[in-house]
């Protein structure tokens, strides 16, 4: 059977993409990740959760007739005709090593581990490259100014793909900076609810042991009865 005949049989509309320069004809409905697999790549690095949460599949590409360099998560982006792409599955940007218990939620903690933030040129290349559309430069600036709460909030949706760090002319590992800011904020700027501490104490004091003893002694029918009769205090029921 000739190649042309095979094509007719699978009449899926296709596009031509260039994976690291090599041309491949792939169905137009695929994501970049599935298109690479369709083309024959068994991915080892460059695929993780396959759902937009893990940052393993950061990909950069150009489109035909367009000078811009685009960035995306391969698992979350549909192929386009003429796309020239490569994955960046690893970013050489070591993380600071710190003991969170000894730090304070201030810019001095950030600068101690990531002094490069002081070199930020405000070029905003990081925000432009972010596949999550995070205002990366803003959280770097907030960190530098000691507004840890804002840095934490703005950086929150980061999946740590690291594309920002590769693009940065000041060589800042922004995604690590955001991580430190969030931990400082979560640990020091928000209180631990009293009700949580009281419940932990109750459990440690054995407050519920007798209740458990009774539940563990119930037969399956006994449990079923108890389950069916349990009350719902927060949800409206018909």
């Amino acid at each position: 059977m000739s190649k042309t005949e095979t094509k007719k049989e699978n009449a899926l509309p296709t596009v031509k993409i260039y994976i690291m320069g090599s041309a491949h004809e792939v169905p137009e409905s695929l994501t970049i990740m599935k298109a690479m697999e369709y083309a024959g790549f068994k991915i080892k690095r460059g695929a993780g959760c396959r759902a937009g949460f893990c940052g393993a599949c950061g990909t950069v590409y150009r489109k035909a007739g367009d000078y811009r360099l685009y960035a995306a998560l391969a698992c979350q982006t549909q192929v386009e005709d003429g796309m020239v792409l490569t994955q960046l599955p690893f970013i050489p940007a070591p993380k600071g090593i710190y003991d969170i218990d000894t730090l304070q939620p201030t810019e001095s903690s950030i600068l101690r581990y990531y002094p490069e933030v002081a070199r930020c040129l405000s070029c905003n290349a990081c925000s432009k490259v972010c596949p999550q559309d995070i205002q990366v430069m803003d959280f770097v600036q907030y960190s530098l100014q000691g507004q840890i709460d804002k840095a934490a909030e703005v950086s929150f949706d980061c999946v740590q793909c690291g594309l920002c760090a590769i693009r940065c002319p000041a060589e800042i590992p922004q995604y690590h900076v955001g991580m430190l800011a969030r931990r400082l904020h979560g640990k020091y700027n928000t209180s631990t609810p009293e009700t949580l501490l009281e419940r932990v104490e109750e459990i440690e004091n054995g407050t519920f042991e007798q209740g458990f003893e009774e539940l563990l002694s119930l037969s399956k029918d006994g449990l079923k009865k108890r389950y069916t009769e349990r009350d719902f205090v927060d949800q409206k029921k018909a």
């Binding site: 599935k34 993780g48 969030r182 928000t190 419940r199």
Partner: protein, 554 residues
């Protein structure tokens, strides 16, 4: 095909009905099912209850257990490495604690072993892909913990055991719910950002089958926020870890106890021998086996490797007959079919609707019941919506959330969902999401006790690989809790073993030889190999032309 704001024109007619009926539905509450009604919909529509998707395990400790065909396929596979090729005399890593799988459970175990006095050099954490390529980072909706005055661990216990059809192992459920508040406290001390109200108390939502609001969350990035903090901490503690190095076989000693594992570097194709006094299995679940042909919400490496390795060594399994299909996987657009649409969408008020915009079931049933109700609607009625690629689904009415909780609620609380659908031009604040159940979770696995001991000496388990915690069906928010509770307990148990000062015995792969003999006796028609390591998604026309080269060539 004309597209209007992300949806094809002919799906728009049904969306119009959803949008028009919204105001009428705001206060409408559909009755939830009784235990008898739950049974009926499960029996008729849940894949677990359909014999055509299942068969009995044909060899080993759990011979005769009825499990999904895909699970039986893996268990009835030959070892992917020839045990005679492995030189056990050359030990590459000699440690006290080997932790296989660096997701939420494995990472918690490593941290707690270290907190409990085991020096970092005595711990080795190994993982198939990168540190944190796991289902934990994909968990969206939340983590349960009974910390409000109107709630208690006893109420949490009842919810979990009822959701699991009263088949859970009671002592495991007790451990799960009792440690919940402690885990949240630990996370808070590490700096995990849980969503809070302005007065500083936690925002806590309901989940399917919970009788109290106890779902703590970090927007819809709960697992990501939790795991990236644990990852940050494990790097700070400088616990050694190996990436792209899955275990492919456990190693036993002369008593049959577990004494380490054979690792395989998937990039260099070398094997490495690890000797360890305690081995913790935390390799996660089986979503990538695509049980019953379903798409999955799971990460790339979820191939049940740990279960089959433990089974060859003689570990007892349980509850593997039960598979969790999450009620709401994306059914459109095609690029993201099967990806998770968080249950939090329903926790916040989203309703499940048929094609004319009427509710088809109570939105917060336990997952197996909710999924079965949706399958029923798509298989036994004509009240479904069909996509251009003939996929059937029902509507999840996300814009209703903005009506109930106010404008801006979705961007603030469901930013991952908003972002994912927006990438395909769908605005979930204005239009509903098309959903159908997706393969989500391995309910059963390696049997363990409340201190994470398995039936084999030297082997502990924690997380999705284990069986017993959730019975036949897990509730939302109990897996993020489980990985922390049992990861922590496994780490502490391993630390106690460390203090006992005994050492691992003589290394052998006798159990692998024995497994091969058992498999030979089955005269299997198809010869398969496992662990699977990674699923195969290359196209047929590529696979038809694959050739095996000698190692010294390319």
């Amino acid at each position: 095909m004309k597209m209007i704001k992300g949806y094809p024109e002919d799906m728009r007619k049904s969306i119009d009905k959803v949008n028009k009926t919204r105001n009428k539905r705001i206060d409408q509450i559909i009755e939830d099912l009784s235990l008898e009604e739950r049974k009926e919909v499960l029996d008729n529509f849940h894949p677990d209850y359909n014999p055509k998707y299942k068969r009995d395990i044909s060899w080993g400790v759990n011979k005769g257990d009825n499990v999904p065909n895909e699970v039986a396929d893996v268990i009835e596979s030959y070892p992917m490495v020839n045990p005679d090729d492995i030189d056990l005399n050359q030990i590459d890593y000699d440690v006290n604690i080997l932790i296989i799988g660096a997701g939420g459970a494995g990472t918690s175990a490593a941290l707690w072993a270290n907190y409990s006095g085991v020096p970092k050099e005595e711990i080795l954490l190994v993982t198939k892909l990168r540190l944190g390529d796991c289902n934990t980072v994909m968990a969206q909706g939340g983590i349960q913990a009974a910390d409000r005055p109107v709630d208690s661990p006893l109420i949490h216990y009842m919810d979990a055991i009822g959701g699991g059809h009263f088949e859970n192992k009671p002592k495991l459920v007790k451990a799960l719910v009792s440690d919940g508040p402690k885990i949240i406290k630990w996370h808070k001390d590490l700096g995990v950002m849980y969503d809070c109200t302005e007065d500083g108390s936690f925002i806590e939502n309901p989940g399917g089958g919970t009788s109290r609001n106890r779902m703590h969350c970090s927007k819809d990035y709960t697992g990501l926020e939790m795991f990236r903090t644990l990852k940050d901490e494990i790097i700070n503690k400088e616990v050694p870890y190996l990436e792209f190095s899955p275990a492919v076989e456990l190693i036993t000693d002369e008593t049959g106890g577990i004494a380490g594992a054979v690792l395989y570097n998937i990039e260099t194709k070398q094997y490495f021998v690890v000797r360890a006094k305690t081995t913790i299995l935390s390799t996660g679940g089986f979503g990538r086996l695509h049980v019953a042909g379903f798409p999955t919400s799971n990460h790339y490496g979820a191939t049940m490797d740990g279960v089959v390795m433990a089974y060859r060594a003689g570990a007892k399994l349980r509850d593997l007959d039960a598979t969790q299909f999450h009620p709401t996987g994306a059914a459109f657009p095609e690029q993201i079919v099967g990806l998770l649409i968080t249950e939090k969408t329903r926790s916040l008020g989203g309703q499940v609707l048929g094609r004319n915009g009427e509710q088809i079931c109570y939105p917060l049933e336990p997952r197996d019941v909710e999924a079965s109700s949706i399958i029923k609607c798509c298989a036994a009625t004509d009240n479904y919506i069909e996509t251009p690629t003939q996929m059937r689904g029902v509507w999840l009415d996300s814009p209703l959330i903005e009506e109930i909780k106010g404008k801006g609620t979705i961007l603030k609380n469901l930013s991952a969902m908003y972002r994912m659908m927006n990438r395909f031009d769908i605005d979930i604040t204005e239009d509903p999401i098309l959903v159908y159940p997706t393969l989500h979770y391995q309910n059963g696995g390696v049997e363990l006790d409340e201190n994470c001991y398995t039936s084999l000496k030297g082997l502990l388990a924690a997380g999705e690989i284990s069986g017993g915690v959730h019975g036949k069906n897990r509730l939302m928010g109990n897996s993020l809790l489980e990985i922390n509770v049992f990861g922590r307990r496994a780490g502490i148990t391993a630390a106690n073993e460390y203090k006992k000062k005994s050492t691992a015995g003589k290394l052998t792969l006798a159990h692998v030889h024995k497994s091969i003999k058992s498999l030979d006796a089955l005269n299997l028609k198809d010869k398969r190999y496992s662990p699977t390591i990674l699923p195969e998604y290359r196209s047929d026309n590529v696979r038809d032309r694959l050739v095996q080269l000698y190692e010294t060539s390319l």
